[in-house]
Symmetry: C2
Subunit: 319 residues, 2 copies
């Protein structure tokens, strides 16, 4: 019998899950719809049924030993999802308590970025590292901070919100209601905003002038930059500058061995890594310089969230 | 026999030490001169002699069980003092290794702010807290970050340099060589700089217009503020605003239960606490609001550094 952990990644539209062994091999991936259920109980029943069916389809020879869940606004301490803006359930959902009725086994829940950090530690580039940070650059900017081999959850279970440190006082309005948060600059949506600021402030011709705000993507900006588009190049330079500057502040808190960047924006490769590393090094206190690695994540993006969630299960089982 | 720990606080001019019992009672305080020795060995011999003499003067009935040392640029992992700008020894001093020749017993060293954090945890307001931060507002701004009951030392032993997070790009020149660091705004010297900026930018009469840059103190600014001096009041408001804003960023990293403020500037009481707390709350991500306490340190300033250093010894002995 091969031991496997169930990793669940709860997104606004789909809930993905997979069975992962301790070496990070995925033995089955599937998903159910997150939205449109009458209540949380109905959704959980649908999710449990999907998982049980997949487990059956997986065939004999496997032994499910634990469940890890990555969810927006997931609270590790309580196993709750609290006031997640993009989910149907708006208040505090005691997810782990409810889901244990379907799977009575070790179960843990945290937010997506913390799950990514644990995935990096168990399967990815942070194997053997005790102090590191994972930054996820998606629509927003998520972060998972690891100190002494453990994710920092903080007093309330909500530590690691580096996407909401302040860059510019009275800066861009953030989804959180504050102004000038890091994720309004350094994220897939942040670079889109930067492009539109540049299109306003500069006069250089740009293929990006033909794309609407809603249609533009980080991928299109990267393509334009590779074609030599000045606006796109400046947008990556600015995004990397802001990200590098603020990651230096993160170092001043926990002094990690490495910072892993993960998510759509990192597919731009050097376009984002080069300015980030340059401004990072220039912003660091001298004692930290030339020793902290900024690296692409060692996890494949396609199933990283499920991998990370399963890693949380493995991590719990170690305890 | 009563167990006591030796706490040593290494300053640029004096090295203070004391014998402290586990309840935080000080049984003897003394000091030797830090500067003017030919080399580190001579200094350590002088320090060891001073301590041994004091131990003798203390009389019988005491049992010295460990040594804790707080030093600028102290590295907990290696027991070294590394490139401390205000000490006579400019490179890497293997302090613990050398000092164990004089006192062969459990010994640990860290920087002043980390020692203050451990002091707060063992003797002060953070008793029983697992996640908190201590900010020391002296000439500079030091910080000790505690996560899960342990000081965060980071990969290299130098974590917790919140004084050097960026406030304003291209802002005030910092002693570290960077521009815009937090301690150039929020510290005893930071508020002095703020007063002089205000004296330049504003036209209000102020008693502070009669004091030179070198003569002005945080205490004098506090006195002027209490007398209704507009420049002094604005200086405290601005200092608290910057401090509150940036402490919110610290919360976004480690989500502490409380933040303790320590050092000269905190003697100004509400003048500094009120604007700090106001801007802190306004800057926090919603999930953190109205639950994180900003408190004055529970340690007495006069011997806090020695207390903190001795607390490090007690903390090590618990392991």
């Amino acid at each position: 019998m091969k031991d496997i952990a169930l990793g669940i990644d709860i997104g606004g539209t789909f809930t993905k899950f997979g069975f992962i062994d301790k070496d990070g091999n995925s033995h089955f991936d599937n998903s159910v719809v997150t939205t449109g259920h009458n209540d949380i109980e109905t959704y959980l029943a649908s999710l449990a049924n999907g998982i049980k069916k997949s487990l059956k389809d997986l065939g004999p020879g496997f032994n499910l030993v634990g469940v890890g869940i990555g969810a927006p606004n997931g609270n590790y301490y309580n196993g709750t999802i609290e006031y997640a803006p993009n989910l149907d359930w708006k208040d505090v959902v005691p997810f782990v308590d409810l889901f244990k009725k379907h799977f009575d086994m070790p179960m843990a829940l945290t937010n997506d970025a913390n799950a990514a950090a644990i995935g990096e530690m168990i399967y990815g580039g942070a194997k053997g590292m005790k102090n590191f940070v994972v930054i996820t650059l998606g629509t927003g900017l998520g972060s998972g901070i690891v100190v002494n081999g453990e994710v920092v959850y903080g007093h309330d279970g909500f530590a690691g919100e580096v996407g909401h440190v302040l860059v510019y006082e009275n800066g861009r309005l953030c989804g959180c209601g504050n102004h000038g948060c890091l994720e309004t600059y350094a994220s897939a949506s942040g670079i889109r905003r930067t492009v539109f600021e540049l299109l306003c402030n500069e006069t250089a011709p740009s293929t990006l002038r033909d794309i609407s705000f809603n249609d533009i993507t980080a991928k299109a900006i990267a393509k334009a930059a590779r074609d030599g588009d000045i606006i796109a190049l400046k947008a990556f330079e600015f995004t990397g500058k802001i990200l590098g500057m603020k990651l230096a502040d993160t170092v001043a808190h926990t002094s990690p061995e490495a910072i892993f960047l993960f998510g759509g924006l990192t597919n731009a490769g050097d376009l984002i890594f080069k300015p980030t590393i340059e401004h990072f090094e220039n912003s660091l206190l001298k004692v930290y310089r030339n020793k902290i690695k900024i690296l692409p994540s060692g996890l494949q993006e396609t199933n990283a969230a499920v991998l990370g969630a399963s890693a949380l299960a493995w991590k719990e089982l170690e305890k």
